[in-house]
Symmetry: C2
Amino acid sequence: MSQAKKASAGTPKWVYSFGAGASEGSAAMKDLLGGKGANLAEMANLDLPVPPGFTITTDVCAAYYKNSGGLPDELRPQVDAALQVVGEATDREFGNPEKPLLVSVRSGARASMPGMMDTVLNLGLNDETVEAVARQSGDKRFAYDSYRRFIQMYSDVVLGVGHHLFEDILENYRNLNGYSLDTDLSAGDWLEIIDAYKSCVEEELGEPFPQDIHAQLWGAIAAVFGSWETARAKTYRRLHAIPDDWGTAVSIQAMVFGNMGDTSATGVAFTRNPSTGAKELYGEFLLNAQGEDVVAGIRTPQSLTEAARLEAGDDKPSLEAVMPEVFAELSEVYDKLEARYHDMQDVEFTVEEGKLWMLQTRSGKRTVNAALKIAVDMVGEGVISKEEAVERIDPNQLDTLLHPTLDPQAERTIVAVGLPASPGAAVGEIVFNPDEAEKLVAQGKSVILVRIETSPEDIHGMHAAAGILTTRGGMTSHAAVVARGMGRPCVSGAGTVHIDYDAQIMSSGGETLKKGDVITVDGTTGQVLKGEVAMVQPELTGDFATLMGWADKLRRMKVRANADTPRDAAQAREFGAEGIGLCRTEHMFFDHERILAVREMILAESEEGRRAALDKILPMQRDDFAELFEIMGALPVTIRLLDPPLHEFLPQHDEEIAQVAQALGTSAGKLKYRVGELKEFNPMLGHRGCRLAITYPEITEMQARAIFEAAADVGARAGKPVAVEVMIPLIASREEFEFLKTRIVAVADAVQEEKAARLTYQIGTMIELPRACLRAHEIAREAEFFSFGTNDLTQTAYGLSRDDSASFLGAYTARGIFEVDPFVSIDRLGVGELMEIGVRRGRETRPDIKLGICGEHAGDPGSIDFCEQVGLDYVSCSPFRLPVARLAAAQAVLRRKQAKS
Amino acid sequence: MSQAKKASAGTPKWVYSFGAGASEGSAAMKDLLGGKGANLAEMANLDLPVPPGFTITTDVCAAYYKNSGGLPDELRPQVDAALQVVGEATDREFGNPEKPLLVSVRSGARASMPGMMDTVLNLGLNDETVEAVARQSGDKRFAYDSYRRFIQMYSDVVLGVGHHLFEDILENYRNLNGYSLDTDLSAGDWLEIIDAYKSCVEEELGEPFPQDIHAQLWGAIAAVFGSWETARAKTYRRLHAIPDDWGTAVSIQAMVFGNMGDTSATGVAFTRNPSTGAKELYGEFLLNAQGEDVVAGIRTPQSLTEAARLEAGDDKPSLEAVMPEVFAELSEVYDKLEARYHDMQDVEFTVEEGKLWMLQTRSGKRTVNAALKIAVDMVGEGVISKEEAVERIDPNQLDTLLHPTLDPQAERTIVAVGLPASPGAAVGEIVFNPDEAEKLVAQGKSVILVRIETSPEDIHGMHAAAGILTTRGGMTSHAAVVARGMGRPCVSGAGTVHIDYDAQIMSSGGETLKKGDVITVDGTTGQVLKGEVAMVQPELTGDFATLMGWADKLRRMKVRANADTPRDAAQAREFGAEGIGLCRTEHMFFDHERILAVREMILAESEEGRRAALDKILPMQRDDFAELFEIMGALPVTIRLLDPPLHEFLPQHDEEIAQVAQALGTSAGKLKYRVGELKEFNPMLGHRGCRLAITYPEITEMQARAIFEAAADVGARAGKPVAVEVMIPLIASREEFEFLKTRIVAVADAVQEEKAARLTYQIGTMIELPRACLRAHEIAREAEFFSFGTNDLTQTAYGLSRDDSASFLGAYTARGIFEVDPFVSIDRLGVGELMEIGVRRGRETRPDIKLGICGEHAGDPGSIDFCEQVGLDYVSCSPFRLPVARLAAAQAVLRRKQAKS
């Protein structure tokens, strides 16, 4: 091994062989060989049938970019030597006019980036070697078909000649000759196509298609390294948080052919069902085809098992029926792979003239339901531990699970039925273009992206869309795989749907829908429905509950919900909330019945006027709180005092101003003047939060009274005290806090005396300003808890308005200035340091201070991990993010444990 | 001394005697005895004629407030004992019906707060003792006059019966009897007035005026302590940064009478001229009057010296002429006091039947010119050191000196002439009410406060006003003293002016002016002028230059100016700028001739369109910079790249939009849409600063090119390189800085090659966001200098918009939450800590990084002191604040030195 590691003294080892006898790599070497290369080596180590090949390491990718696109000189002899070995193992030789070796050239990064980077197949073909292939295989048609595929793929990937040019040539040829399928073309037809393709390349580039197979090889290697930096690859990395400096490896492997007639086939398969998680052979294959044909979704593939075929009602035979020996061997391969990897595998295989070859294995993408079932099952099978099971689930994926599905009772107008490619249901406007999808979503619309098929160029639109519908492709088509990964509902291969991109319409079964029409897609059943169909809330049981139970036992932090209404609170308890961490009272002020009193309060010209209006609001607020306290029982409820600037409650348009003026018995002019007077240049930094309370303490006193009266009443009825936490927003200094705390305590004292009750309460604050973090030791002298308001803290630390940042955040991410939007995941270096300062100083003066976070970061796994790191006591997020938070909090504990060990 | 410190074991010493033999206090005991008490003791120690008395310490004030207004029991015996001593020294006794002792009860805090707190004179008078006074003095009229004064003053100060009630009674009486002056009233008349006064008190309070002189005394003591917390005292403390917990002492002293006929007098005097600083006896006196009469400005007083009388053209005799022996004695007292205090003294004296008594001495308030002359003269006289001279000048006062005076060539329409009470000139709208003055100024207006006379209740209005005009009172009247202290131009005692508060008009010499009319007051000549009169810039020479020279030698930090225009730059050099620390380029964009091109650039829909418009702006920007570079020579010039959001440059109103649309050849609708599109919710946190540059790097490239081309051209012409510093605003991360630095360096390289020039430049950044402070070590890897932008840093650290804070900052200061407005003086605890972090981390990675501050704090002495403390290299302020900054920077060095020693 130590010898293999170095090709010769002083020269790094750039190339690792596999498959021809012992492999030089293993599954553990993903960083160096990429996922694909490492797993090919591992499969060879497991004695699985892997076509021999070798992997050029990710170090070469780094060197390539450091060299501005040049490959190191030492690489060539290593590649030549490795090619020699492959040739010997296959009894062929690269470029040999009699027994030519053909190879595939594929990318493979540390993390799977399906379809994001380039691949070239059938490399080694030229006008001379193609004849040898024809002679050897005895199948001219196969040889010419392979050659024309190679010309098209190589020209597209390496030479930059658009694939549509070749598709047009083929389409024309078919039409001229009255062929409807590619299989109608004879060897002679393909020869003509090959000539036309070569002419096309020469016309486009001014030079002929390269016949030198070594030039082909090095062109392909460079193209694969180059594809690491394409826009779509960068986007994918950004979405999946894959560092730019990882780079890709390149695996070069002897070709095997699934398109050598009906004893050949190619397929994609999973060791378990990636939709349901069931432990069954699952997958698809195509007879007489190359791998690309399955993934591209050009032909609809056949089932692997008889059971699956019957369930799908498919009339084409299963692999189990057509090639029973191959099927049996594949089953064994599955078992070996799961035993080795302890996880569900996604494999690619090819059958060449009855012989099975394994081309790839990787951890398979799966729906969240499948992920849960597989994790729980594998614990049951004794394959993984509970901790591993908890680590296996991507918390963000749980979100999908919690979203509503279609109401089974609702009426449905079915427009079409396709494959249930990614579960869940979504409603939105039809849009045919991914750019437009992104634009409409930015405008706040919900859209369904409708495409004939999708390609990696479309992922930004798929990410933006609520759901995806394609008319071609199977369960493992690009659309299906990507949608499942993203948690987007998807129906694929809905063949009855006809799409006219130019006219921006889709039609199916006599129904024509145009862009902007609303449809519903049900990725669980494959149905496409007209209009908006009613949804039901998901029920969470079984594997979900089991796994959450394990997570709950592992996590240290409590989880609470941000809940303003009884409905939110009930939902929160259902999803496992251990309290309310943020009840925003402003929503209560907007209620239709009370907004008039609120406006009266704002427009009052004296404290007496304000108090009169507040007296009207008091009983309503008290009822709000009483309801929440009843639902939450003895769990803590954090109520934030009024936060937004008062002008947010006032009418803005002339008509509305006139109405309100009449209702309030004032003049429209006077009201308009007051509205204008309250306008602010920078409301985010204006007269809001505790500043409102300090200028108008009577508002705080009313809210405190409503809170404490409700707490006393509910506590008395329930016979146990309500755990109420009064939270003051936007504190920057101890003096502000002290001023308000005194008043709130006075109200509590008064209510306790009036009601002869004993209240259990704490008074604390949001920490959402940089100054509050710095002065935390002073504020903590008075405050009994801190809740980090990281939305505002991010806005102030960066001087960045979330509402206004859309106009330039695009440029920031495109230029690599933001790795991740700081409003999505906590900026650990800046905002995070402020939090750390706040935590440390807060505990300095009050060691037992309760520390939490509320706001959107509290539902983001990366941010939750940071909260665990700095030692917060709880996170509080929206009810639907609670399971995400519970799981992420458990994973954060496991990560700390691993970091320590 | 150690025995005197304690009255008896376990009881603190609350009372310190003076004047009757040895004093228990001294000038060093200001903290305990207040300024007045300590100086009375000191004068007694110097054997000056001080009426005997004693001082109740500031500790009692603290106890009084801790006790919620109760005085400690141990105090009474100590006061009684001290009173006994005073009685013995004066051969009188408190309350004795034959030889009654009368006392004054005065406040006196550590720092002088002239007129802010209460005083009671003639205490000890009642129906019985007044007769003894009449008998002893042989002057019934004097006795009854003193008694009625006492009733009025005591009722007002202690009992809360408004003084206007008494004034009305007196006014009525005079009218009924046809008297025009108080001196027309006989002893019998005063007796009737006394009865009427006593009835008035009984009517108002339901109980008679207190005849018990001990009750009187304790009431007065409590009232003086209570006056520490009046609104006006609090306001004064806030304006002068005097801590609330210092408290006041109370001095009780045997009365001497300046109103015992024409051999008696009372006066206020300065050991040097407080207007010019000339070493001459200066002051005013009134024959047959009590001290209050001088200060209140009711009668216009006479000069002390013949020289001053002649200069004023006054026909009333001087003290020098009337009482030569007293005058001679006073001159000696002056010399003793200056020899003791090493500073110009402000003294109060009374002559009782030919005998001089000193009632007070303190460091005298003076104009800035006087302050400079006195400081420089005293260095010349060998009395103080240069360091002490530098410490003596209040930097804020210099501001006055730098402001324009009336252009001697300008036409003047003189409305009236009064006393030149406080130098400088001011223009503004007439306003008669101090509240209204404050309100109008808050709205951005400039006002002249016009009053018959001013009182301590008016100081908020005086502070707000640009200038002050009174129709009564002398050079030492309340208005004059306060205006000089504040640096407000003031004309006092303009007797020809008649004010009608009800009608809101003033008339003089047939001219009637109403509220809102514009006038100019010239506090240097005493003239009141109609309309706005042209001003000229001050010339700074002589003492100013001398003192600034000393300061410049002492200070460590450089001073630079914020200058956007050649005019600013020239002004800045004149005021001693050592460079430009902030040249804001946005002002250049607003220029009438180029705003159209700017708007074209903003509205362009492509980079090409923007570049075309930028090409038009480039030569203009280049000229801007070239002019600045020429003026500044080899001094560094920091140019900040475009900072404000683009929408600030666009037209806002329909009419203007239509005009601009026509000029740009676009439709008003389209333009309006774009204007709307660019609007931001929180522009302060929006698409501005480096964010503009990152989205539109072509703007930065144009600006960089204009800067470097100008630098190359000017450098070539001058034969020495221009020291240019390119400053990137609003940086939050190293990545932003790096992205832009790369582009700026590329432009510099290109210009150097094109012009075959060698540029000397640095690229640095504003540090104005909390995150930038935290990431300073990273940013400093790339940035060669930091300039702290503390305006924005304060806004973001506090989450507080300066523009919007007016609506609640009032409540904040009123409630003691802000000690000082953080936009006026750096909030050391929050913003200051961020700066410290930025400084420390910046130097970690780049030890020689240049550190400065630009923005308004850089002209605030308190903030400059902080900048010295954290070790900045320079401060950059507005040109007119430069001398302030130079002096404050020197003082900061001295303060550090003292703190160390």
